[in-house]
């Protein structure tokens, strides 16, 4: 279990990890939001892509910039930046997602003194040729600007090596999920979460060495014993509250798959390392299941969630949204309706911060699992 402790440690203190990394490697750290950040380009330049989660709790400085009806991710991230917790960043990248992140980018640009600032205004539609062409152009320009900011050149070889490594990372993460799906007992969801979260912040070369060890550990523990608890799908945006997994598991359930930014949306899909790599990166975004802030058809997300329920023999879906997350809240009624039609039970939990939500979630979770 030592290997899992490493991931837990990094996931619990990503800032400390990355500060040490920076000192030891004299490297550049690029903060980013959202699974639509072309991390592969950052990594190809030798920078460390560092996903920002927002530490949550005690918001004080961010209140001078954001109203109380913004989500905890947006407020928490700004609080961390304003209070100096993210001073180690050499730059920040905002891919265009929702209205809140869009304005956070403006506020960040105007108030945060450290690092350079880049917006990657990707298309919102991900199902037309002109959108694809635009995305490729945006990514190409992003690469050029990034090269300029870092005074480096990203060669095609660098890019190719980077996407190959990312493919391996993503494949490993997916395998971990697949093992969990077969044997929900052998690794807790909070451990899985720690692995995924750490994967978004740690040195990707080191990550590539460590991930197979997690796989080995799990392979050794595999068993034929059938899981007897309730099999669940988790759906939502980012989940930055590991305790939630314990609550769900404590209530007799296991998350056997998910549709979240801090889960399957991060690792689904590989990138073709041959041909025009920027185009291949765009291709992955076009093929991957979308975040609800993007459009790729009217029923895709609902169909996808129904499909993963069936594929994973799940008995129910837990929707876990950050309060004030508009894109998810707008999609919820139609997806729930699709699930209802299939006879798949679901529950919705909106979180503002963990402290006020924990007890309530526990009660609701227990009640929900009893009905399954």
């Amino acid at each position: 279990m030592e290997i899992l402790n490493l991931f837990r440690e990094i996931a619990n203190n990503p800032n400390d990890y990355v500060k040490t990394w920076k000192e030891e490697n004299n490297g550049k750290v690029m903060g980013y939001f959202c699974s639509y950040t072309p991390e592969e380009i950052l990594f190809a330049a030798g920078a460390l892509p560092f996903r920002i989660f927002g530490t949550g709790g005690n918001i004080s400085m961010a209140d001078a910039h954001l109203q109380a009806y913004s989500c905890s991710l947006v407020r928490g991230a700004l609080e961390d930046a304003l209070s100096g917790k993210l001073n180690f960043l050499d730059g920040i990248i905002f891919p265009h997602t929702c209205d809140s992140i869009q304005r956070l980018s403006d506020i960040w640009r105007l108030n945060i003194g450290f690092g350079f600032h880049m917006d990657v205004v990707l298309p919102v539609k991900l199902n037309t040729d002109s959108a694809r062409e635009y995305m490729v152009n945006v990514l190409k320009k992003f690469k050029q600007r990034f090269e300029k900011e870092l005074c480096c050149e990203i060669t095609n070889e660098n890019l190719k090596a980077s996407v190959e490594k990312y493919n391996r990372i993503r494949t490993c993460l997916k395998k971990i999920y697949e093992i969990k799906r077969e044997n929900p007992d052998i690794i807790s969801s909070s451990n899985i979460y720690a692995v995924v979260k750490a994967s978004m912040v740690m040195d990707r070369n080191v990550l590539l060495e460590k991930l197979p060890r997690v796989l080995d550990l799990l392979e050794d523990k595999k068993s034929e014993v059938k899981y007897t608890g309730k099999r669940l799908i988790l759906a939502g945006g980012i989940c930055n509250f590991p305790d939630i997994y314990q609550i769900i598991e404590g209530s007799g359930g296991a998350i056997v798959w998910d549709d979240t930014c801090t889960g399957s949306r991060y690792f689904e899909g590989t990138i073709d390392p041959n041909g025009d790599i920027i185009e291949s990166i765009a291709q992955r975004y076009f093929e991957r299941h979308v975040c609800p802030a993007k459009h790729s058809g009217l029923f895709n997300r609902g169909e996808h969630i129904v499909r993963i329920v069936k594929e994973n023999n799940a008995q129910g879906v837990v929707f876990l949204f950050l309060k004030f997350c508009d894109p998810h809240a707008f999609d919820y009624p139609y997806i729930k309706e699709m699930l209802d039609k299939e006879g798949i039970p679901s529950m919705l939990f909106e979180m503002e911060d963990l402290l006020s939500s924990e007890g309530q979630l526990k009660t609701r979770c227990e009640a929900f699992l009893e009905t399954l």
Partner: protein
């Protein structure tokens, strides 16, 4: 009620804008035409308020605006019921109340006009927010009609070349979409005329808004909120041009005759964000009681903000700029510049911001806009926390106290 007021207060009667009656007639006729479209064979498109309506006019499609519908729901104080209905349908209370009330109206033909006419197509332009994308997806599923999305990349600091190419391509896709849904050719000659009428309408609307540069102002932002409906809904038609011409005449006459929106105007304020539709009269009277007039706002002028980018001789080609660089689709610092320009132009002594729970892209960043404005122009500011349609988010006593306190500051300065 109206007659009684007339008898009781001739002073108030004098201040009433006479064009209002005509405006109401035009809007009534417009909605009757839209609601009887199935009898005339005309097609209906639902379109976002910032969406490119001109090609619809060219195609003889009647544009219908769910956001205008939302405003009507708010103004007729039907918002709370419909918001609650949407919550029963599973929509979170934190979502946009225009979207929530409109979505709730569809299955029950609810609201002040018994629901909007059923659309034949949906045109969604995300230059105002990401919310409209989700909202229109929902309505496209509900009505099972084609949806066209015009994706206008957000201009944090620039409208890039590649973004412009992308929007231009989409405008062509839009025309093809219309040809397909309407099953007829797009008439490019007619587009020229419609484009000219659109620009004429926008210029006239700007001229109407500019009459408030005069001190005292012949109209207030509250009047602009009402008269705005035409530039939104019928932009590109002769009706708009005629109506705003006569409204402009009336405003000029008011200036000549010394009729002002607020009796004894002493303080001139700038309003930011969408109106609080169910309390416009209350707010208007509240400010008037302090001799304050809201002389301008960032909201109603947004429908002329593309004027500087669109070339009259080449409307279609310059539409990409006009529709992408609008007020809400630009960075907070650019918005602040615009606010400062307005403060100077209208000689405002203070700024009132509606922090609107329903509209995150309009509201997030307001504090930073205020910070920039205060650095550049030393004027007091008031932030009102509310919602444009959902009255449950409006605390009258608290807001009244804050307005009084704000006005005290203003008075002390003068």
């Amino acid at each position: 009620m109206t007659n009684k007021e007339t008898v009781e207060d001739p002073e108030k009667e004098k201040r009433k804008i006479k064009s209002v009656k005509k405006m109401k007639e035009i809007m009534t006729n417009y909605y009757i035409e839209a609601k009887t479209a199935d009898q005339t064979g005309k097609k209906i498109a639902w379109i976002t308020s910032g969406g490119p309506v001109e090609p619809l006019i060219v195609m003889d499609v009647i544009p219908v605006y769910p956001e205008n519908h939302g405003a009507m729901i708010g103004a007729s104080k039907m918002g709370v019921d419909l918001c609650e209905k949407s919550e029963e349908m599973g929509y979170s209370r934190d979502l946009c109340s225009y979207a929530r009330t409109d979505i709730a109206c569809s299955p029950i033909n609810g609201g002040p006009i018994g629901g909007l006419p059923k659309p034949d197509m949906l045109i969604c332009c995300n230059n105002i927010c990401g919310t409209v994308l989700k909202w229109y997806e929902i309505q496209a599923r509900y009505y099972d009609v084609p949806l066209f999305i015009l994706d206008t990349p957000f201009c944090h600091t620039e409208f890039s070349i590649e973004a412009k190419e992308y929007v231009k391509k989409q405008i062509n896709e839009y025309l093809k979409f219309l040809e397909m849904v309407c099953d007829k050719q797009f008439d490019y000659d007619r587009m020229k005329q419609v484009g000219q009428l659109s620009l004429k309408g926008q210029r006239l609307w700007q001229a109407v808004l500019d009459t408030t540069v005069h001190q005292p102002a012949p109209m207030s932002a509250f009047d602009a909120f009402f008269h705005l409906a035409l530039i939104v809904t019928l932009r590109g038609t002769q009706i708009v041009v005629d109506y705003y011409s006569s409204l402009l005449d009336e405003m000029r006459e008011r200036i000549t005759s010394g009729i002002s929106a607020v009796h004894n105007e002493k303080y001139r304020l700038l309003w930011d964000n969408i109106p609080i539709w169910y309390r416009t009269r209350w707010l208007s009277e509240k400010f008037a009681s302090h001799d304050a007039c809201l002389v301008a706002d960032t909201y109603t002028s947004a429908w002329c903000s593309s004027l500087k980018y669109i070339n009259e001789g080449n409307f279609l080609d310059t539409m990409a700029d006009g529709y992408t660089k609008i007020y809400l689709n630009i960075g907070v610092d650019k918005m602040a510049e615009h606010v400062i320009e307005m403060i100077d132009k209208y000689n405002a002594n203070g700024i009132v911001m509606h922090s609107n729970r329903s509209c995150k892209p309009y509201s997030f960043g307001q504090y930073d806009i205020l910070k920039i404005v205060k650095e550049k122009r030393d004027i007091p500011a008031l932030v009102i926390e509310a919602d444009m349609v959902d009255e449950r988010s409006f605390s009258e006593s608290q807001i009244e106290t804050r307005i009084d306190a704000f006005m005290e500051v203003l008075k002390a300065r003068k």
